[in-house]
Symmetry: C2
Subunit: 332 residues, 2 copies
DNA sequence: ATTAGCACTCAGGAAATTATAGTGCTAGGA
DNA sequence: TCCTAGCACTATAATTTCCTGAGTGCTAAT
């Protein structure tokens, strides 16, 4: 249990460091809190021992450790109202009723990225939660046709394929069979059902069923591992002073560019009970100097995750406010 | 007109520099060409005067200038056959007949990016070349519906909208009116036609036509400025030694991340007569140290541009071979 | 418990040093 | 006239040295 003064000092250090990105020394503390530098040093040294603070080198000031940030967020951060300007910018988007939901989400996170200089990620609902609603085929030119797949959440995937020597009528027959037989199946199970429930039947009714079946099969396998990941402001982090080494930059870009990794990072849900989840440092799975704040949203028609990725030294209060605000507005 | 020896020296310098990224000095040349270092120096100094070579500082070796690269490509580069390994890797993709064309393209450029460490860009056909083929509406849940737009090239765009207090029947009527009235219109003209040819008519037949009209109008305006730009291997350039300054990196990322800029860069077609176009240095419009090699492809059903973006010091021969190979294979 | 005082540490920047990989130019030789 | 040996010169890049400033930890006194 920390003393009142220790709490004050920790809070001070976190907030100071978030703003200026420079280790905080005893002098500054002695001025802000009413005490001598020596006392401040003693307290800091204690806080370091508990693991809430760190030094960058033996004679440097202190910076918060990952645990320090977590403690701060849980116990010290005051949840003021949102900045007016933040709120106003987002409200413009949400008040525009002509925007589709997905546009609202991406536009609002675009705005957040611009305001904060952090990166945003939008992760669509995963393929298990999407049920096949409808497929459709549109002939394009000679032997080509576009296959369109729609899920109950309104996600659409399409693929143009070329089938030589196949009657379009046969394809249409296949489509209507699929629509009749397996509508409502979770997308990630469709290829299985296709094999066991559809293949035997089209074998009877459709000519060239081998070719046609294969084409559809491929469309669905592609769709499965393709749930949408949308990254906004991918290079915002370059603005932050802590990312000046080329090695670090490479590492981070590689993670942010890899949809699989990003999906893993944002989708893993350790604690379903919480609205907002925060992963700091190593826990972010990106870089020891980064942090991830994320939340799930759920509407009548869709669900997904939105996340903000920034330096460990993030404006937590602000970002949390922003995310909560967006979540609320989406869900309405 | 350059002498034989000058040509040899220029070629040597370009190829050496492409490989090692280090200015080439007279010693190396004197060894490879049969002459003394002093002669090499004289020749280099002449080549510099013509503008084919440059120095990085007063006492450095020489590097090719943008004009130097251009001269090299036009006159000196020998067009050997493709590297076997390059060809084999691509053939695996093109021989897989189950892949849709668009997948072939993106997969093959993915492979190229991986092999060469350059960035690839795929630019879809522009909205003027796409004609409206079909629109379709799929109801999703309560008041939501997904509108799907298909073009004659097989491009599909979709948007989920929410319309309160609107009968789905009215929406369907609107859809079939649009399909009857303006199918075949270039996508970038659809919103106009929508206004002048469709709006007056749905006004008569459809309830709540204001709302419905607005929704469709927005779908199409979004679609218009949305012709697909696909970037592969965006951070490959970090591998190159010439991009180690943070400022440069930021600048390049900003361009590569901005679809509008990228579209401008890759779509501008100075010279329609040529198959392959090359823009080096400033001309690349990205960075003075970068170059762009691009080509258009055209199939029965679709067309677009593929481009490779890399350092000025690119393996031109290899990349040209790769692009030509891909282009040919796409067009078949 | 707090604090003044002091010795100590380390990062970071400036200046000095050296090594090295090149150049340009001159003058002599084929 | 073309080539080349030789030499003085130059700029970078790497290494070292030195210095400063911002900070610490510890001890002893309040």
């Amino acid at each position: 249990m920390l003393t009142k003064r220790q709490n004050n000092i920790l809070k001070l250090i976190v907030e100071e460091y978030i703003q200026l990105a420079k280790p905080v020394g005893s002098d500054l503390i002695s001025k802000k809190i009413n005490c001598s530098p020596a006392t401040a040093r003693n307290e800091m040294s204690d806080l370091e021992e508990i693991g809430l603070l760190e030094k960058t080198h033996t004679s440097s000031g202190r910076i918060p450790s990952a645990t320090g940030y977590n403690y701060y967020i849980k116990n010290l951060m005051d949840r003021k109202k949102m900045k007016k300007s933040d709120m106003e910018k987002l409200e413009i988007i949400f008040n525009n009723h002509q925007l589709a939901l997905s546009d609202c989400i991406s536009k609002s996170l675009q705005v957040v990225s611009d305001m904060t200089s952090y990166t945003s990620v939008i992760l669509g609902s995963n393929s298990h939660d999407n049920l096949l609603k409808l497929i459709e085929v549109v002939p394009i030119g000679e032997n080509a046709m576009t296959i369109i797949v729609v899920t109950d959440k309104g996600h659409v995937e399409n693929k143009t394929i070329v089938l030589e020597d196949v009657e379009i009528e046969d394809v249409k027959k296949t489509v209507s069979l699929i629509n009749n037989l397996i509508t409502g199946t979770p997308i990630d199970e469709v290829s299985m059902k296709l094999e066991y429930e559809v293949k035997p039947i089209i074998g009877k009714y459709v000519n060239q069923h081998e070719q046609i079946y294969n084409a559809f099969y491929h469309v669905f396998t592609d769709f499965t591992d393709n749930n949408s990941v949308n990254v906004v402001g991918k290079n915002k982090f370059l603005e932050q002073p802590e990312f000046s080494s080329l090695e670090k930059i490479k590492g981070i870009y590689n993670k942010l560019d890899n949809k699989d990794i990003l999906r893993k990072i944002t989708s893993k849900n350790n604690d379903d009970s919480k609205d907002i989840e925060i992963y700091i440092g190593e826990e972010s799975q990106i870089d020891e100097d980064m942090a991830v704040i994320k939340t799930k949203y759920k509407t009548k028609t869709d669900e997904g995750t939105i996340a903000i990725i920034g330096p460990k030294r993030m404006e937590y209060e602000r970002v949390i406010n922003l995310l909560e605000f967006i979540k609320e507005n989406i869900e309405r």
